[in-house]
Every structure is written in structure tokens, then in C-alpha cells.
Amino acid sequence: MTTADQARFQTLTDGLAKIAPAEHDVQDSPYTITNAQYDVLRHVLHDVGGQPALSVPYLEKGEEAWEMNTYVTCECLGWRGAWNSEMRRRAEVDLGETQYFGYPYYARWLTVAAKVMVDKGLIPLDELCDRIDQVRDRLQEERK
């Protein structure tokens, strides 16, 4: 709209670009930060746009079995009342930028599906971690 609004949004996205994966400002629990830096740190991630980005190459990629299994698992969790889509999006944002940008799309879903099950008391965290270790051991055995 106004040049001032555009400039303000540009300041925000430029600030966000600094904490995106490519470049980093040193962040070591500083004693003080500027208001501008607080705006940047408080910025809420959004899954349909608004994050700073570099140009992305367009790659043909089909959906893999684990991705569709993740999708179905998340839908079942919704169907059984564990969460809804908006809670899933919030849980993804709650991961923080490092994990949000660092994981593949469906790995984000899978991670927060585990999170909601622990949060809701559907599985204790230690049991979940035990199961992950069991499955890893089994797969390593199978691949020998």
C-alpha cells in the first residue's frame, strides 16, 4: 500500500533473511536486543508464504510411501480427535525456525504428530523413544 508499509515489511523480511538457513547472526542469549530484532525474533512462521527465500529450483518429485503414511497417520489423529489441522500448523511453527526450515515437509508433519501424541498423553515420551530405538535396531538388522 504505502511506501512506508512496504519499507516496514521489507525491513522485517530482510531481518528474517538473516536468521534463515543460509546466513546467521550470532545469537548467544544477548543481555539486550533492539526492538527491531525483537520484531524479527517474534515473527510467526506461516506455511503459505511470507518467509524470505532464495530462488528454488523446480524439481519433479512424486510422493513417497513414508510421506503418504505420514499424511494418513496425521488424518487419523484428527479423525480420532487428537488434534485438528490448525493445531498441526501451530505445532510446526512451535518447532522453531531451525527445525521448521531444516526438515523435509512431511518430516515436519511426522515430528509434530509424535509431539501431539506425547502432549496428549497418548504415549509416554520414554515409550515412544524406546519404540524408535527398537524400530531402528530392527531395520539395521534387516539391512545387514
Partner: protein
């Protein structure tokens, strides 16, 4: 619920503080657009995201259309290009009026 805005109305997206979670993209804050479609009443994201799908507050939703050149200072596409996004009624105010 009777929608406050009609299709064709000019609206501005509020620049309310966001914490923790939002469905209102940063790049549409304080931007003026046109209502192009009514969407069904639904639980507002601020409630739905916090496990209140059954008990949350409902509002009319709107599809709002913006000019891309308004949104992106470095936009290099055509001047007629537009972007549409959905907003809950509480996030919109009539264009031309201060909050």
C-alpha cells in the same frame, strides 16, 4: 452470521500483534485489498489452533484479493497480477478508515 463486508468492498488487513501462531501473513498486514468471495463461518484460527474446534468463536471468512505490486517492493511480474488469501472478519477493517 451476517457478514460485515460485501463482495467488492475495499478492506485493510489489521496489523495486530502476532504471538505464537497466526494465519494472517505478515506481507498482507496494513495492505488494502478487495473482498472477492464469502467463505463459510468457521472457528477463528486463534481458537482452532489451541484445541477449541468444538467450542471456539466463529466468524465469517473472506477471500481478499491484493495487487502483487502493492505487496512486494521488488515485484517484477505484471502490474495486473493479484494474490488472494483468506481472512477472518476480525482481521479486516473498512478501507479509508483509521483503526
Amino acid at each position: 452470521m451476517t457478514p460485515k463486508f460485501k463482495v467488492g468492498d475495499r478492506v485493510v488487513v489489521k496489523d495486530q500483534t502476532s504471538l505464537f501462531h497466526t494465519r494472517t501473513q505478515a506481507f498482507v498486514r496494513n495492505q488494502e485489498g478487495t473482498v472477492v468471495e464469502h467463505r463459510p463461518d468457521w472457528v477463528i484460527p486463534e481458537d482452532e489452533a489451541f484445541d477449541k474446534l468444538e467450542t471456539g468463536r466463529k466468524e465469517p471468512f473472506y477471500v481478499v484479493r491484493f495487487k502483487q505490486t502493492d505487496l512486494w517492493p521488488r515485484y517484477t511480474g505484471f502490474a495486473v497480477d493479484t494474490l488472494e488469501t483468506e481472512c477472518a472478519e476480525g482481521w479486516l477493517r473498512p478501507a479509508g478508515k483509521n483503526e
